[in-house]
Amino acid sequence: MNATVAVSPMLLDPYRITRVTEETNDTFTLELSPADGRSRFSYQAGQFNMVYVFGVGEIPISISGDPTVDGVLVHTTRAVGTVTKVMHRMKKGGGLGIRGPYGRPWPMEHAEGADMVIVAGGIGLAPLRPALYHVLSRREKFGKVVLLYGTRSPEDILFRNELELWRSRFDLDVFVTVDHALRPWRGNVGVVTTLIPKAPFDPHSAVAMICGPEVMMRYTALELHKRGVPEYDIFISMERNMECGVGLCGHCQFGPTFVCKDGPVLNYSRVKHLIAKREI
């Protein structure tokens, strides 16, 4: 044991909300800065923070901002539970407690030199957005970059303005699909896996990063593998009940993996046998 006693990993830093954006009817983005105006923080794409609402609770939220931009912490989340519903009512100036960043990030270095396939389902686009920012800031290090995004309906499309901007770039391919739509929608309708067979990338020299509902990630990984992407080049972002974020409370276990510290980004080849089993 060391001579000094450790600082509690449960200690949090007060942050302030600097901007609130309504993304869709149940999804919102908060931009935050340290309350003391001085603290610095840095993170990598794919990591998350434990976000605390005073007296209500603490939940893990992926960081959805640009890791190359200093000073602003961005979190996008759905208002589905007690804590997020309270968060959804907060305004600019409101205070939140932040601990982090935690977790294994997306394998950006591993992917250099290869094509990159980013497949997002629903809110899964939020933890993948930082990866895309990272890629675009070092565009020359990667081959073809393809973003495949599927969500429920056109009203649920996240970061729509940004998607349209990315789509207009010459060095990025963006394909969007929805599960169902009404007449004004002229884009693809169908599940996101249907975008894989024709997506413009070389499966033998590609790294895939997938994030979305677990069943979507499972089928997407299978479809990518069918196309020829080796399983060890496929990465998913797993979700389990993370409560402490530091591997001490035991809640987020997925087989031997602590999703909070061994993940949430996991190599598909290491978990493919578990992910197909019920109730692990």
Partner: protein, 378 residues
């Protein structure tokens, strides 16, 4: 150092520790069981009592002699001192929308506690919890502070509990390390003397202050024989070799459905288990909403909520939750911490209201899915 003391010597030991500012804790009878609580002298020990343990059964019965330590383990373990069932982690205050942390944990110094009567399996469990709370990328400062101030007087088992299987897990009955002092009761024929072995410098210092006698060869032999005899009476085994492979191939075995019919998912096993470490945090505020506290509490993987993510719990069935507990204890714990999570103390068998036996469940799966590890012909 290997020396002998008599019963008064044990009282002197306790007195010396009290003078040094330690709260002396030891086994004592409370609520019909042998629990750890504050003791002053050997009179507080369950002298002449033993614990008869079976599946879903614990009874205190009188021994025919007056041994100080003629029993094995009660429902509690050292876990409750270093990793308490309830602990305030953080207190916060809020004024004008700004929150500040008013009381972080980890800055307190920890209590000086001396625990008498710690068994080999408990020492093994302590080593496991040390690995969990002190050896990872994030450490528990409360555990660390309390751990530093813990003085351990181990006791070698000279008797066996009905549910013990420490010989299978390699964690007993003899205590080999992790203690400051270790006592072995030599019995009436040796005048109720006790062998004292030292494990650390503080242990040596304390023993020196007692002016004990050097242990004779005969006394050492008696001590060894008594501990050996405990081994002979162990009634359960956990076949460890090939167990992991069998559990992996038996993930969908109907045995899990069978145990699910019996298991109440009450979580008793996780409470009494000396290595279980799951916890949750509760948030409480005062009525004004200006003060908030984050309280850590023991949690159990047997609760339905444990694996809750939006949309529902991942492990909805009792089948899945029992499987999670057993696989974690005997299999995935090894991937996570380098050793099995089970120390063979048998508490989970004793305190399970329906008497589910981890060794029986493991054995059933092992037999069904035994994978031959040896090349054919050998």
């Amino acid at each position: 150092m290997k020396q002998t003391i008599d019963r008064d010597g044990v009282d002197h030991l306790l007195g010396a520790l009290q003078k040094l500012g330690y709260e002396t804790i030891g086994p004592t009878i409370r609520s019909g069981a042998i629990l750890y609580d504050t003791i002053r002298t050997t009179k507080d020990l369950p002298v002449g009592w033993m614990d008869t343990q079976g599946a879903a059964s614990y009874r205190l019965t009188r021994r025919e002699d007056d041994e100080l330590f003629g029993y094995v383990v009660g429902p509690m373990s050292l876990k409750k001192f270093l990793f308490p069932p309830e602990l305030r982690l953080l207190s916060l205050a809020r004024t004008n929308g700004t929150m500040t942390v008013t009381e972080p944990v980890g800055s307190q110094g920890g209590h000086k506690r001396a625990v008498l009567g710690v068994r080999a399996c408990e020492l093994a469990a302590l080593a496991i919890q040390d690995k969990i709370f002190l050896d990872g990328p994030y450490r528990d400062p409360h555990y660390e502070a309390e751990r530093r101030k813990l003085f351990i007087i181990a006791v070698n088992c000279t008797t066996t509990g009905g549910n013990c299987f420490c010989t299978s897990t390699g964690t007993g009955p003899a205590a080999t390390s992790g203690y400051d002092l270790c006592l072995t009761e030599l019995g009436a024929s040796s005048g109720h003397a006790l062998l004292v072995e030292t494990g650390t410098e503080p242990g040596e210092d304390l023993l020196r202050s007692l002016r004990a006698k050097e242990a004779t060869g005969e006394e050492l032999a008696i001590a060894r024989a008594r501990v050996e005899s405990a081994k002979l009476h162990i009634g359960k085994t956990l076949e460890v070799e090939g167990l992991r492979e069998a559990l992996h191939s038996g993930m969908d075995d109907p045995r899990w459905d069978n145990v699910a019919l019996r298991c109440l998912s009450c979580g008793n096993c996780t409470q009494v288990c000396p290595t279980c470490f799951c916890s949750t945090v509760e948030d409480v505020t005062d009525l004004s909403g200006r003060e908030a506290h984050r309280i850590r509490k023991w949690d159990s993987c047997f609760t339905l909520d444990f694996s809750y993510i939006h949309g529902g719990s991942v492990r909805q069935s009792v089948r899945a939750r029992y499987r999670q507990w057993l696989l974690h204890k005997l299999d995935t714990w090894i991937d996570q911490f380098g050793m099995m999570g089970c120390v063979g103390c048998g508490r989970c068998i004793t305190w399970c209201p329906v008497g589910i036996d981890i060794t029986e469940e493991a054995s059933a799966l092992h037999q069904q899915h035994a994978v031959s590890l040896r090349p054919s012909g050998e």
